[in-house]
């Protein structure tokens, strides 16, 4: 049951999906479970919609975790977010206001096939698990498969490479399903947040060019508020800024696609750490990492309820 679920350990895909069913069953006033479609290997792509029911259409926030299979702290954070949202609704004024005025769409595991493969076979798998009939290698980098500056610098057109962009944009059913959902809800979707690891950064568009986004001031301010909130928890510093200048110019990723498709605030978090454990962040660090990241996400969401 919900009270026994341990949010400070990593969970298998099956455990996470059972947990989602339980969230949906136990908190019907705030939770609706959706399925966006099927993965390459036929697994359901589940999403939890969080928010007080309302007959008025509310602004929405999308959060996906686990685009890259080996980045386990992502799914841990998505589950942490849901747990904190549900347990602090009506007790924490900020979360109460957020759930009353916003709908959150949380996808704890975007790359369900890859995540499962990283649990059972290859701990450092990154890609999806699609097959390429001409090559023995499998999988596409789901963050290089979006229809924006597709397969450019920093992506590879070779199926055996970790940054393989795929045979064509949205070739991956997981990416296609999420893109279709976001396109359908774009009028109300005000923020897109993608959780990755590791590097301790908060990035926003563009990745593929040095130009500044039109609403740079508002997005930069939201990012600054977010990393300030994050720092307030344990004093961990995050770098933030446009992906192209903060990291390197690379081909389009999901945040560029979201922004290009009209979602005004698009962020990618690279969570802890900066390389000491890398993808192997110990379970003992799940709580502090998720606690600080929650503060950042709440800061971003709160900003949506203000004018900028």
């Amino acid at each position: 049951s919900e009270s026994q679920y341990d949010y400070e350990v990593y969970h298998s895909l099956e455990e996470i999906q059972n947990w989602m069913f339980e969230m949906n069953r136990s908190r019907p006033e705030l939770v609706t479970m959706l399925s966006l479609g099927k993965s390459y290997e036929g697994r359901p792509l589940f999403v939890l919609q969080l928010g007080k029911r309302s007959c008025l259409q509310k602004k929405s926030v999308w959060i996906d975790c686990g685009v890259h299979a080996r980045e386990w702290i992502g799914p841990a954070f998505c589950q942490w977010f849901v747990k904190e949202a549900l347990s602090t609704y009506k007790y924490d004024s900020v979360m109460t206001r957020l759930l009353n005025h916003l709908d959150f769409f949380i996808m704890p595991v975007f790359n369900v096939d890859g995540y499962r493969f990283s649990w059972n076979t290859d701990r450092f798998w990154r890609k999806t698990r699609s097959k390429n009939h001409k090559f023995h290698c499998r999988g596409v980098d789901a963050n290089r498969n979006w229809k924006v500056k597709w397969c450019d610098e920093g992506a590879s057109s070779h199926p055996c490479d970790d940054t393989y962009c795929g045979p064509f944009p949205e070739s991956e059913p997981e990416v296609k399903a999420v893109a279709k959902f976001l396109r359908k809800h774009k009028r109300h979707m005000k923020a897109y947040i993608s959780i990755h690891a590791y590097a301790q950064m908060l990035l926003y568009p563009y990745s593929y060019k040095y130009a500044a986004i039109p609403n740079f001031n508002c997005v930069e301010s939201a990012a600054q508020n977010a990393v300030t909130a994050l720092y307030s928890a344990y004093g961990v510093r995050y770098r933030y800024g446009p992906a192209a200048t903060t990291l390197y110019v690379s081909s389009g990723s999901s945040i560029d696609w979201a922004y290009k498709n009209g979602i005004p605030y698009a962020f990618a978090f690279e969570l802890r750490d900066t390389g000491h454990f890398g993808f192997l962040l110990p379970e003992s660090l799940i709580k502090p990492t998720c606690t600080e990241t929650l503060k950042a996400v709440k800061a971003i969401a709160s900003g949506l309820l203000k004018k900028c």
């Binding site: 290859d122 450092f124 990154r126 970790d162 940054t163 690379s250 390389g275």
Partner: protein, 99 residues
């Protein structure tokens, strides 16, 4: 052991590149030794003043040590034994229970 102990002896190097000569030298090494890029995500994103984290199989670690020393490229060990870290990550919970 998890993953059938396949990561025993594998290591993660952090390589710091200070100039273009070192960038080219590392790219040459990459042609000889297969590495899994942790950061950045691919070899094409390696550039001057970048830190590069790579996962190297146990049979290649000595060769990489030697090549980096030969090229006088600065590096340090981030993870000396990946299998140990994997076991530690999930707190030695029994793999059967997890799976």
């Amino acid at each position: 052991y998890q993953y059938n102990n396949r990561y025993a002896g594998d290591q993660v190097f952090r390589i710091t590149l200070t100039n273009d000569t070192e960038v080219q030298a590392l790219k040459k090494i990459l042609e000889l030794i297969k590495m899994d890029f942790w950061q950045p995500n691919s070899a094409s994103l390696i550039h001057r003043n970048a830190t590069v984290d790579v996962h190297v199989k146990r049979n290649d670690t000595q060769r990489l040590h030697a090549r980096l020393k030969l090229e006088k490229i600065k590096y340090r060990m981030l993870i000396a034994d990946l299998q140990k870290e994997i076991e530690k990550q999930t707190g030695y919970r029994s793999s059967r229970k997890r799976r």
